[in-house]
């Protein structure tokens, strides 16, 4: 396992200060997926399973080239295959690599009540720390992309880590490395956005795709995975990619107008802590490693 560390800028269910917040300016990382040059070869699926050492699971034929209907706790990267007939009668066979979008404002993290079960690093990666996961499944509700999945045996939730262990060592994620056509790119969000916009422009100017555009939905603050789509006005045709994804209202309510409830609880906690101090005095506490080791939670 990598010994490198990443700084955390957001922590789920955490009331105290966050060590990485505003302490360091770091580039936000981003995957750019050009769906118009994806050939659905599934090299990224294999690379993901192999790099993350995920156990195989059984699949059945389902009238499609798609490996399985949706991502699984042990299958984080899935290409969705969709046949779409255009108005002129021609066919599009759309292939979209589906995985965690690493939202800037992650619904999963907002929804998660377990302290430190979901973190967002300063480079933008949203990572699950299964050691802290309580198996409540709120993150699944909070995700507008239906990505995190629970292992029914261990009641822990898993999803793409954006290969934090590789990224922290300066490597690209495994899926990116495996892509044979170069439809997958990895870099800073700014660079990827620029590359994606220029590719979309090329498609508008030189191919028969006047609606080509970049998918980087503002409803979740933008995503750490962006797409170029043949038709950006209609992302639903790519296996239900939401047009305007946002964090569910229930989660927003909990984290927004009703946050005072949590604050009351937090103050209660602080009072309790003070009373505890008065009663028992200071205690030598093990240095808590708040800078979490990438991938360390998934064991």
């Amino acid at each position: 396992m990598s010994q490198a560390t990443l700084r955390v800028q957001k922590i789920s269910g955490h009331a105290g200060s966050i060590p990485g917040q505003d302490t360091q300016r770091e580039y936000t990382v981003c995957k750019f997926i050009d769906t118009t040059t994806c050939i659905g070869c599934k090299a990224c699926e294999v690379a993901c399973v192999e790099w993350n050492d995920l156990p195989f699971s059984e699949t059945v034929f389902d009238n499609t080239y798609q490996t399985m209907p949706e991502t699984r706790w042990n299958y984080w990267n899935l290409i969705l295959f969709n046949e779409h007939e255009r108005e002129d009668g021609s066919l599009l066979w759309l292939m979209r690599k589906n995985q965690c979008m690493h939202c800037a404002e992650p619904g999963c993290l907002a929804a998660c009540p377990a302290d430190g079960a979901i973190v967002q690093y300063t480079n933008g990666i949203v990572d699950f720390q299964q050691a802290n996961c309580i198996g409540c499944g709120y993150c699944i509700t909070g995700c507008p992309f239906d990505i995190p999945k629970m292992n029914p045996k261990t009641h822990r939730v898993f999803k793409c880590t954006l290969c934090t262990d590789r990224v922290s060592e300066g490597l690209e994620p495994a899926c990116i490395k495996s892509c044979p056509t170069g439809c997958l790119h990895f870099g800073t969000k700014d660079d990827m956005k620029e590359l994606a916009e220029s590719r979309a422009k090329q498609l508008r100017d030189h191919s028969n795709f006047p609606n080509a555009g970049v998918y980087d939905p503002p409803g979740v603050g933008g995503t750490g995975v962006i797409y170029v789509l043949h038709d950006a006005s209609n992302p639903e045709i790519y296996g239900g990619l939401p047009k305007n994804p946002h964090v569910p209202w229930s989660v927003k309510l909990w984290k927004g107008p009703l946050k005072w409830l949590g604050n009351v609880a937090m103050i209660g906690g602080l009072v309790g802590l003070f009373v505890h101090y008065l009663r028992y005095g200071p205690k030598a506490r093990e240095e808590e490693d708040l800078a979490i080791k990438p991938g360390g939670g998934r064991t």
């Binding site: 040059t37 050939i39 070869c41 599934k42 490996t67 046949e83 066979w93 056509t181 170069g182």
Partner: protein, 854 residues
Amino acid sequence: MTNGWIDIKNTDMMLIMGGNPAENHPCGFKWPVEAKRTRNAKLIVVDPRFTRTASVADLFCQIRAGSDIAFLGGLIHYAIENHRIAKDYLLNYTNAAFVIKEGFKLPEDGLYSGFDAETQTYDNTSWNYQEGGDLSGKPARAKGDPPPKENKAAAAGKPTPPPHLPENVAYDLTLQHPNCVFQLLRKQYSRYTPEMVERITGIPKAQFEKVADLFTSVRKDGDMKKVATIIYAVGWTQHTAGTQTIRTAAMLQLLLGNVGRSGGGVNALRGHSNIQGATDMAGIFEILPGYLKVPVPADTDFKTYLERITPKSSKPHIWDSWNYWSNTPKFAVSFMKAMYGDTATKQNDWAFHYLPKVDRNYSWTYIWDDMYRGNVKGLFAFGMNGVAIGPDSNKNIEALKKADWLVVGEIYPDETSEFWKSPGITQDEMKKIQTTVYRLPCAGFAEKDGAFVNSARWLQWKNAALPPPGDAKPDQEVLARIFLRVRELYQKEGGKFSDAILHATWSYTNPQNPALAEVAKEINGKALADLEDPVTKQQVKAGQQLPGYAWLKDDGTTACGNWLYSGSFTEAGNMMARRGTEDPSGLGIYPNWAFSWPANRRVLYNRASCDLDGKPWDPARKQVWWNEATQKWVGNDVPDFKADSKPKDHMGPFIMNPEGVGRLFVPIGTVADGPFPEHYEPIESPVENPLHPQQSNNPIVKKFKTDADKYGTPKDYNIVCTTYRLTEHYHYWTKNNPMNVQLVPEPFVEIPAELANEMGLRGGEKVKVTSARGDYVAKAMVTRRIKSMMIDGKKTYQIGVPFHWGYRGITEDEGKTAKTMANLLSPTVIDPNAWTPEFKGFLVKVEKSVGAEP
């Protein structure tokens, strides 16, 4: 490939047809994508199905399987009639201006001149150039003129000498002579109108015209800068018209001036890691390594053999031709020296009589036919799964039952090594099978070193990653040990013809397990005496590795296993292991990466990338050029040309043809079924040939004649079926790997949604596909990616069967699939030139399956 994988990035236009590289060559497919991204190159995909390659195409046409020549012929017609041709290139670099003999007849009725219905063969005497000089502006030979000499000899009852090419070819540089190749070509394809293309292929006229306009747009207004490439794979070869289909593509590319040029060419994608190497090293019965022809019984001595296989140049007298195959004696003698060492001497005809004389067809389908007939008693099956490969797997299984023994070298138990367990064989029947089966555990690809030759003709050396497990042995060790034991037996007991075995050279450090590097050095060749280049005075001492095939001699002073590979393992070391990543030209030539045959040349015929004066047609893509100062051909690539041949000498760029130019017209039966390709229906076809219903099929294609060889008609089998591979699997191998099985767990059949509606069939339900030979049960994949077609006014459906499954594998062993093989369906009928079976385009019927199979 005439070009290479990386070179595709340099193209402006791609036609991918008879191939599905996005699925079957995904790593190489990065280059078409690169061309699209960096050059806005256009991609046209023509296929019976909307494939993953089609998913990134600018234009897709659904074509009926087996009608490719009609489509390509239509493109030729379109290019000529719309003046989208490369005029200078056509005139100077092809045989367009050559005049064909009187008596040659085009196949308006389906037959070329010279057909003998009884033997189903052609007398190709009339398929030849006319002797003589400049016929510009002269009429064709008058009717009263005497017939050609060859006919006289035949009439007199003398044995007909094989026709040969005239040394001095008649020509018409105005291209107006009615019998010049260009006019004949024009006439031949004048029948391939867009309407006719629609009737045969099912591609609507308007769509065809759109594609034709786009593809030929590279030659709009005669501008030569742009380049188009044609990319294909076994979707073209696996037909009874396979060779001719590829010929049509080559002709179209010559017409458009795209051959020899960066971003152009005719590019065969190889479906296995070393299939190119297998061909180069004579993986077929009719060639020796380096494409030397095998001896036949009429080759009574070495001289006769060489005379037959060494072409003489044949061209207009005003032009020059290098005729590189005139060096054949040097390649052949050096090969004999590599085979038999000191035993091969001038006195004994270089041991020529040790070589078998091949008297008839011994290709794949014939081997199984012979075994079925009881003539072949045993089979070594290494690196292939003969039962599953087919065609007609049932016939192959029946054939193996009749064999005395079978040796299988494999890494898994497979359908061939367990043919006696194939579905349908009862316990009682099993007991009656007397074939002795030897299963030898062999090393996998990562457990061996050696070279792979890729589609781009690169010999790339690889190292073994780990040793073979358990008792598994590398192939060369298995073969060496068998050879040495057989030789020992001959030494002890003698035999009918032991010389060829006893005298074969076997001078490896470890004779029981030759190092592949030693074999590679032997193939490269070495000097047997001190040699000196008369011009450069460069010397090669006796025993040293040869720097290249230009050093080969026909006097026994050199030995070389395969002239094309000479230069791959020199005194400087193993050129195949080079990994230089410099690319000074930016064209993706990478001259220091591995070794590309011939002579490390990356694009073949690259002299044709320049105009007559030796200047590149496109200055932005400079491959080679004539350097006026040094009076030499130089370049970023190795010039595929005589280095000091001045442009004004007009030497043709196609140096491997005796004409020196590209062949629009192939003379004297080099291609057995006609000098120009003609559309013939597949042996099993839903319609009569709209061009000539009375001659629907290829007239020289012969059906096999045992009771196992059955052929269907559209009355009983109404649906066109094609077979293919998937990205997720590799042949019959990965069904043993859980990762691949997870990706695509089960066999399936792709069924058009419209047909499924008619049948009341839903996706995931089982279907039974039946041909005249057998049936196949799998789940249906109902898809809009295959549509119904109108073929000559008849509504026609096509289905697709991926072929990766059988009766041994993870899901098969667990009893989850039907345990049938796709090639139970395919017919035993083969292309008359390359002997490839017709796996793509035969007839079946489709029913809902009600059987009890899993």
